[in-house]
């Protein structure tokens, strides 16, 4: 029988071989034999489960991470749904309309600025084009 340090240093294959060897050499006839067999199997199982521990730990971490990610997702969705609807700034539709009109004027100003810039750049482009056309024409 090997001591615990030797067992700890053994690989999975060695542990299996050792367990099988022990099972093979034991006398399993009679009641004492059956107890020996159960004991050997239990030892082999415990040795194998010790070898599997890191795999199980990794699986458990992955499982926990999955649960945590799911919880975070639900919390995020919950928070976004819980977002309160703001209160109307105006109770009078006429006042609200005046504000909408102002907003559209602002949008219109923005568009005018954009189209103004386009017209300016067109004029800038036009001048060299005219010069080129005149040069080619001559």
């Amino acid at each position: 029988m090997k001591d615990i340090r030797e067992i700890e240093q053994m690989s999975l294959g060695e542990l299996e071989a050792e367990a099988l060897k022990e099972a093979g050499t034991a006398d399993f006839s009679g009641k004492a034999g059956a107890e020996d067999l159960i004991g050997a199997l239990a030892r082999a199982e415990s040795l194998l489960s010790e070898e599997e521990a890191p795999v199980l730990r990794t699986r458990r971490v992955k499982y926990l991470m999955g649960i945590a990610a799911g919880l975070a997702l639900f919390a995020g969705i919950g928070l976004s749904l819980k977002q309160k609807t703001p209160k109307d700034t105006f109770t009078d539709p006429m006042m609200a309309y005046a504000q909408v009109e102002m907003a559209f004027n602002r949008i219109g100003e923005g568009i005018k600025k954009g189209s103004g810039a386009v017209e300016k750049s067109e004029a800038i482009i036009q001048r060299p084009m005219e010069i080129m056309n005149n040069t080619i024409g001559k």
Partner: protein, 160 residues
């Protein structure tokens, strides 16, 4: 454990980025000092569209079809330098995260105006205007279901 915390933080950030919209920006800044805020609800837009005496026309441009298709309008404006910077950043993140398309950008005399839209070939589901001056920022966000053709025609008429 550290890995789990990191993953949670990343997920929480990405979920919050996804959840960000005109409403969330409005809720965040509307009560801040130095920020003026206006919200018009879908119900109010329905009322505006129903009142017959409202002449929904500006400079010969009929805004009524657009106004009736709006479901919300959020306006934020600030001259507080700290709020201006925050609002500008937040609005820029919002249009990026929601994949708004840049409709136009104009820079003139220290003012930059950017306009973004979101939708498809037939419908415009939102318009965002972000106007930044040296000491003032304005954010206008329109939500709705506007017919793209009508929307573009109105914008073109407004530009004349």
């Amino acid at each position: 454990m550290k890995k789990i915390a990191l993953i949670l933080a990343v997920i929480a950030l990405s979920v919050s980025a996804l959840a960000q919209d005109g409403k969330s920006i409005y809720n965040k800044y509307s009560n801040e000092e130095g920020v003026s805020a206006v919200y018009i609800s879908p119900a109010m837009f329905k009322l505006i569209g129903k009142i017959p005496e409202i002449k929904v026309e500006e400079d010969g441009v009929d805004l009524s079809p657009i106004i009736q298709s709006l479901t919300g309008m959020y306006i934020l404006s600030s001259d507080n330098p700290k709020m201006c910077a925050q609002l500008r950043d937040e609005a820029s993140k919002f249009v990026k995260s929601k994949k708004y398309e840049l409709l136009m950008e104009a820079k003139e005399a220290g003012e930059a105006v950017k306009m973004y839209t979101i939708g498809n070939d037939k419908t415009v589901n939102g318009l965002v205007l972000l106007a930044s001056e040296k000491d003032e920022v304005s954010f206008i966000c329109l939500d709705g279901k506007m017919d793209r053709k009508q929307f573009e025609e109105t914008l073109a008429a407004m530009a004349k």
